[in-house]
């Protein structure tokens, strides 16, 4: 059912060697390829037929859901709307990701909108990897959107990674945090050649004692360009921090704009942003351990994006 190409893409985006254990939904070229549910995790197509609804029963602990998407059909632009209802007091991991294999001159793309409704006291870890490959010259586009709603004392940790080969990416992350909730986002993006990536983030700290930390790590090689925008809006006594670092190489260009908006007197918001080449002292140190210049650059970037 999975050919060698599919397996390669699945390995890259979901770290899967084959069909996973537990609940999963694999989408290939705009259609359902394979699906499994578990006692606590239900997956069904939504009423509009535009995507899936994943429902995690309250109290579900230590379970995971895999929902990878693979594309290898020339000219296809796949749009999907997925909703995740994470029941109260559950603790689950959701592994998403999109792999594109482009074999010809026609463009291929995927637009995934993921909405998370995380119940009271629930914890969810969301891991998303985007990757494109193949010998074709067609433009590979990935435009992901995440919308997160955290109920009281809910926690979400999101790891969003674009590892390579994506020509054009427009990302939008939106989140609204209820009382006592916490959101951690780590975004890692590497671009090369003439690729472009834009990330927009809007985090609203709406509930008392809500907390959020957004970390962005960008590596911009070749003639590529990345723009990063993050806004934290505080509407309650809360804590928010944005940390965005970009390493530019070759002719890479970057625009980084973190923004903080306090609409409550007890808001505590901070940000740090930096753009620059790899620091000279880091290069010198690793070369003094016997690594060549190229090996040194690779190790520093691997660490930075880890």
């Amino acid at each position: 059912m999975l050919d060698a190409l599919d397996k390669g893409l699945l390995k890259a985006v979901a770290d899967l060697e084959d069909i996973p254990e537990g609940a999963y939904n694999i989408r290939k070229n705009g259609r359902l390829l394979s699906r499994a549910t578990s006692a606590n995790i239900n997956i069904e197509s939504n009423e509009e037929g535009t995507g899936i609804m994943v429902t995690i029963a309250p109290g579900t602990v230590k379970e995971s859901v895999h929902i990878p998407v693979i594309l290898s059909q020339a000219g296809l632009y796949d749009v999907v709307y997925n909703t995740f209802i994470v029941g109260a007091a559950s603790d689950v991991t959701i592994i998403a990701g999109c792999g594109i294999h482009c074999g010809g001159p026609a463009p291929e793309g995927h637009e995934g909108i993921h909405e998370f409704r995380v119940g009271k006291g629930a914890r969810v870890k969301y891991i998303e990897k985007h990757y494109a490959t193949g010998p074709g010259s067609g433009k590979r586009t990935l435009n992901p959107t995440t919308k997160v709603f955290l109920a009281e004392n809910a926690q979400a940790e999101m790891e969003l990674t674009q590892i390579g080969g994506v020509d054009d990416a427009n990302r939008l992350n939106e989140a609204t945090l209820g009382p006592g909730s916490m959101l951690l986002i780590t975004e890692r993006v590497m671009t090369d050649g003439d690729q472009k990536a834009v990330s927009r983030n809007e985090i609203v700290l709406a509930g008392d004692n809500s907390r959020s930390n957004m970390v962005s790590r960008s590596v911009i090689k070749g003639n590529s360009r990345q723009n990063f925008y993050a806004t934290m809006v505080a509407r309650a006594k809360c804590f928010g921090h944005i940390e965005c670092d970009a390493i530019i190489m070759d002719n890479g260009a970057n625009e980084t704009i973190p923004a903080l908006k306090a609409e409550h007197p007890d808001a505590e918001l901070s940000h740090e942003a930096s753009i620059g080449k790899i620091a000279g002292d880091q290069l010198t140190k690793l070369m003094s351990l016997g690594l060549t210049y190229e090996e040194t650059v690779n190790r520093i970037i691997q660490g930075f994006l880890r």
């Binding site: 010198t284 070369m287 003094s288 016997g290 690594l291 190790r299």
Partner: protein
């Protein structure tokens, strides 16, 4: 072992009335370091100690003259090539990274990834806490911790020549003694030719030869006792009070 021949490092002055004039930071040094000996380099701030060390490692380019290491001219070699030839360097202000751990640095320094062998290395450098291995070498480390890591990665290279630029900066008083002993042990057990830049008497005492640098030249070469009169002579220091009308007066406040 290591020969410095008519070694110069020059910069062009950019400020003040001396703008455009060439200045020799290292001013025609000639010296031969013997294999397996322990050398301490000391001297006032700005005298050229770190510059000399960086010339040996290839971090600064030589302006004129030559450096020979084990009979081979290494003047034109890169940092990587010198490292592979057997020279290791401990930085005064070690680099901090993002996402790189002490374990990563040790593996890069040695090519070893096996846990047991890494633990042997930790024992050799006197680090008892195993949790230290997975510490991120980032901005959160204290000044003392990062210096210990720096020292460990230098020793892990098993160098023929080890250069330590002020290894005691940020190290607490209780750790300096063991640190001196560690470098002495490396010298005796592994015949490591050792060069330590320091102002600390513990290192000067441990050295077979004390080299005092002033204005890019060796002002003294010999044992510590012979150096004491110069070490206590304040006139050698370039820290002078500013006086009105003095053209080259500089304040170090």
């Amino acid at each position: 072992m290591l020969e410095l021949k008519d070694l110069y490092f020059s910069v062009t002055e950019t400020d003040g009335t001396n703008g455009g004039r060439k200045r020799d930071i290292i001013d025609g040094l000639n010296f031969t370091f013997e294999p397996g000996k322990f050398y301490a380099i000391t001297g006032p701030n700005g005298s050229g100690k770190t510059t000399l060390a960086k010339l040996i490692m290839g971090i600064n380019p030589v302006s004129a003259g030559a450096i020979r290491f084990k009979g081979r001219d290494i003047t034109g070699l890169t940092i990587t090539e010198r490292a592979k030839a057997g020279i290791a360097y401990s930085f005064q202000q070690p680099a901090r990274f993002k996402g790189i751990t002490f374990r990563d640095l040790l593996s890069m320094a040695t090519g070893i990834e096996e846990e047991a062998k890494l633990l042997d290395l930790l024992r050799r450098v006197g680090i008892c806490s195993l949790s230290f291995l997975d510490k991120a070498v980032d901005a959160k480390l204290s000044g003392g911790e990062i210096k210990k890591i720096e020292l460990a990665t230098t020793i892990a290279r098993n160098p023929k020549l080890a250069i330590y630029d002020e290894p005691d900066t940020g190290i607490d008083l209780w750790t300096i003694g063991p640190m001196v002993n560690l470098l002495k042990r490396e010298q005796t057990e592994h015949r490591t030719t050792t060069i330590v830049i320091s102002h600390n008497r513990a290192f000067l005492k441990a050295a077979d030869v004390v080299l005092m640098v002033n204005r890019g030249k060796f002002a003294y070469v010999g044992n510590l006792d012979g150096a004491l009169p110069m070490l206590t002579d304040l006139s050698i220091c370039n820290f002078k009070p500013c006086r009105e009308g003095e053209e080259d007066a500089r304040c170090f406040r």
